[in-house]
Amino acid sequence: MARIDLDHIRHAYSPNPKSDKDYALKEVHHSWEDGGAYALLGPSGCGKTTLLNIISGLIHPSHGQLLFDGVDVTTLSTQERNIAQVFQFPVIYDTMTVYDNLAFPLRNRGVPEAEIDRKVRETLEMIDLASWAKKKARGLTADQKQKISLGRGLVRSDVNAILFDEPLTVIDPHMKWVLRSQLKQLHQRFGYTMVYVTHDQTEALTFAQKVVVMYDGEIVQIGTPEELFERPKHTFVGYFIGSPGMNVMPVKLSGGMAQIGSHQIELPSPVMPANAKIIELGIRPEYVRLGRAGMPVKIAKVEDIGRHKIVRTRLENQDIAIIVEEGGDIPAEPHIAFDPKGINIYADSWRVGGQ
């Protein structure tokens, strides 16, 4: 396992990138710890798969360096980097048995047969497929096939990192849970460095210790699930994480106060961003209190989703979603108040202040 350093990496698919727009991946400069579980989260086309392929060596970046444990691997081929990758769709060798599938990477590397047998049996136990060893791989279910893909990586003891490219896309919902928790267990027991690409926030938040949120070719925030929830660095993180996403509304700042339409809100700490074109206030639906005091709103819709209700309201021209616990009161003349703990201020989409 290895620490991964991404040193000023940029990538463009066209040969002569001129402006920032030509880059599928804008400057990425980060260090990922040895044994960490990272999730790359973002919408389609945000550059997360590009970044993953740069790490795996399927793409060589236009600029910058990639280091594994301090060793420059930028120009090395996929094979030489010693990584394992699980793809979106199960990649298995149809004509081989489960056992042979796992033995394949070792046989290709000329490992002695006795050693192969030991490693393969060990791995089969780890991925819980020991009783399927002699079966042809093609007859298996999608989740078992994905485990074989994973197993082909685990069987090599010297892998630097295991990369996952939306591995649960084709898995049935109830098996997603099982696989995800098995992955987590593997990570905790063996301490692999894992990088997991997904556009599903639940997957990212449950799998990873650190979630890397990407948007439009750049990393907008790296943080624990809690940090992403409480203090989104960028309005995109606010929208993208959480269900429903963060309420973001344009405000005018003056001193310690923020003005929304005709209402004034006191900020927990005064901020005065210079030269910002757009100032916005973001607050998660969990921090908006519905009651009889505060700013008057109109209720547009109430969605009951079981454990809580989502109340869609309008504050003058602004849509605001509120989460109300089950059994919570929805008054006839509703008013809302913002919990100061949940207030974030954004200048040109980037967080400048709040609690």
Binding site: Q85, F87, R152
Partner: protein, 288 residues
Amino acid sequence: MEKTWNNKAWFMVLPVLLLVAFSAVVPLMTVVNYSVQDTFGNNQFFWAGTDWFDEILHSERFHAALGRNLVFSFIILAIEVPLGIIIALNMPRKGWGVPVCLVLMALPLLIPWNVVGTIWQVFGRVDIGLLGRTLANLGINYNYVQNPMHAWFTVIIMDIWHWTSLVVLLCYAGLVSIPDAFYQAAKIDGASRWAVFRYIQLPKMNRVLLIAVLLRFMDSFMIYTEPFVVTGGGPGNSTTFLSIDLVKMAVGQFDLGPAAAMSIIYFLIILLLSWVFYTVMTNYDAER
């Protein structure tokens, strides 16, 4: 589930029934009709029973033509299938080379059969043909009109030129449908070029290969036009395949009874062999 009976539903099948009747059953019945009767013209028929079938099945001429046809099909399959795979593997997957290769590959398939025959007939001629003259100038005594071996060589090369493209295009279609992830995974697993072919490309080409083999077998077993134009079945009977023999018998000698019996036997052989190919290959497929 309860079955609903509705006799009116039979009317819905009627158009198809009529279509099949006129396109297949009626013409086929004519052949069956001829195969069990003898006629001397004037629309007078005499019952012949299985006599014609007996005659054909015991005819040396039929055995020889059948043998030639089997050997021919075997040779061209043995060459065209591996050659087609090799060419498909080496064709570019992206860039300007793709349309160029595809058009080049499709060209022979677009040429009418008798034109292909004519091209090769001229191409191989010793007096004016490029191939014939070149071989003659190299000191090789090549003459497909007189030497049976040379006639076979010409017909086989012609068929390979004409039809390998079909195998190539089918294999290529199978190859491009393999997702990139398979090649990437193979790289990560450190697979050799051979292992990639053996464990990824070949299994994925399985189905198209089955179709390619079936089509090539059926076509080569029914081959008529090209060898007829090039060699006319000669020298002697050396390139007289089943269909050429059949036409000689039906049109040349006007032996309608034996020709009809032979048509039916011919048809059944193709049906049987195609079924055998299909069953063997799909079973093999299922086992793996």
